[in-house]
Subunit: 130 residues, 3 copies
């Protein structure tokens, strides 16, 4: 079964922790396998990293802004969000995480996070555990 | 069953849309699961992003060229394509996409694309849906 | 079954080839499927690229050091390793590789590698093939 839920982002760029929602789906599924977390969007991404210090998400957004400046791309002539597309392509729309005994095998310092790159928007997250 | 097909790229760097070919494999497979799209190459990658405006692929290639300049790396003394390897390592060789009812659950603005980073070459694409 | 093994890294940043260890797990598993290789850490990553010339790993580490400078991030005020977190988020903690007849379908120039970004440390690697 493929689960889905919605996230409403509030900023132009923002990191949203999805760990609890994904963990609850994996717990209901139970057993062992791999869990695919996927955003069906071209200006958002999924990353896994530390959120105990939420500054890390802000640092990631700052680093991406420095690496991929806005407003200098071909696609900006059509829709003013080329940098968001480029960042999303580099980060990727999904991550695949092993789980056992109905528990995501994330490390102590790992959270599953949605990266909003062209918000605010409503984003869909797909989760498949099997 | 693992499916494979070949893509002949024509440029040094190029983005090739694989969505139709991957969708056809998933449709023949039917049902629900995850689809792994993988290139067994060290100077090519798989990304998922918008191709409705093909400028996005060109913008991605330009951004990568600016981030990873050519000709200044150790491996260039052996084979003159270190930048292609570095870009491929950052983007990654595969993406995993959920599907349901024999249909890839890509978003409206998502295409599955091969990124050629050291062409022109013949590239193999592996697809496993289950 | 989810397999795990430990890697003790020796440098601040380092690339460690995991291909033999992962291939042995897939061979014992046999048959066909996908293999998920995952590090439960927020300052390490998994990449797939060439290791026949180990300079490529060093070039990747140099490129990442140039893209994400140290010492200028919010998280550095708490723990002096923000750059390692940012690089790990960009590279990602895992890769998923198809296999057939108990053999990883890596390309001739592909190795599975752990990227240490804040070592030396003991790192855990999880492998699930099914």
């Amino acid at each position: 079964m493929i689960h889905e839920f919605l996230i409403r982002t509030k900023e132009k760029t923002q990191v949203v922790d999805l760990t609890e929602k994904v963990a609850a789906i994996v717990q209901r599924q139970g057993g062992e396998g791999i869990c695919c977390v996927y955003v069906p969007h071209a200006t958002a991404a999924i990353v896994i990293n530390e959120n105990a210090d939420p500054n890390i998400g802000l640092d990631l957004l700052d680093a991406l802004a420095a690496l991929v400046p806005e407003g200098k791309w071909r696609h900006d002539r059509i829709d003013d969000n080329a940098a968001a597309h480029i960042k999303a392509a580099i980060l990727g729309p999904g991550e695949t995480i092993p789980y056992g005994d109905g528990r995501l095998l994330l490390g102590r310092w790992q959270s599953v996070m949605l990266v909003e790159l062209d918000g605010p928007r409503e984003r869909k997250v797909l989760v498949r555990a099997a």
